[in-house]
């Protein structure tokens, strides 16, 4: 299990929540993480259809952005970061 913090456009699918949870018991790839996030978002809110947004997003923790080759171990917290537009 991993808690996933949501930002930007993902927020609109989860009301006042800031996180969703994805279920996994072993290390998984960033690609697999994204698949699970897409499923969890759809389960949380059937209106969620923006799989492209998930694909375009990065996975990160407080310290860095995961590269596509990194593995995510269960039990922690990560964040999904949609394309950015600060400034």
């Amino acid at each position: 299990m991993t808690r996933v913090r949501l930002f930007g456009a993902f927020r609109k699918y989860v009301g006042n929540d800031t996180h969703i949870v994805i279920d996994h018991s072993s290390e998984i790839t960033v690609g697999e993480v994204k698949q699970l996030i897409g499923q969890a978002l759809r389960k949380r809110n059937p209106q969620f259809e923006d799989d492209q947004l998930v694909l375009d997003s990065a996975i990160a923790n407080d310290e860095s952005i995961y590269s596509s080759h990194d593995l995510v171990v269960p039990g922690g917290e990560i964040a999904i970061l949609p394309p950015v537009c600060g400034g």
Partner: protein, 166 residues
Amino acid sequence: MSEYGEVFCCIAEGPLDPEAIFQFTQQMQHGAQNYFFGAVREVNLGKTVMAVSYDAYAPLGEKILREIAREAQDHWGKDLRIYVQHRVGQLAVGEVSVGIGVSSLHRDESYMASRFIIEQIKIRAPIWKKEHYEDGETEWLKGHALCQHRHKEKTQEIKHSCAAHL
């Protein structure tokens, strides 16, 4: 100079205080200071904007701002003194959302480093904005996908492979 100049990076709710930014940035030995302030615009993409809500992943964001500042120092002078602040939360039209201060020995570096920092913020900082329009609608703006290539100690490479707008 062999030591890095001081860097202050912050992502927070409170308003920017230009006086504090000037105070931090200016340095006796330096002949140039450049400041950039970005503010919420009234019209974006043809729609009248009432306010903008900024969302940010602050811990990672501040770390990335420091990385960007360090890259500016490595490129334009270790001794650069750099201040970067970005607001989060809802801002009215005209309010300043981002402030950058750079002081350097000569003017060229202050302009170049400041410009580099704002361009990098726009493509690398985990910050998002939602516009509030006069008809009550809101919209999260489209943005730049974050680079997911491994780039520890490989600044130059990343700049090319991820098309950072240098």
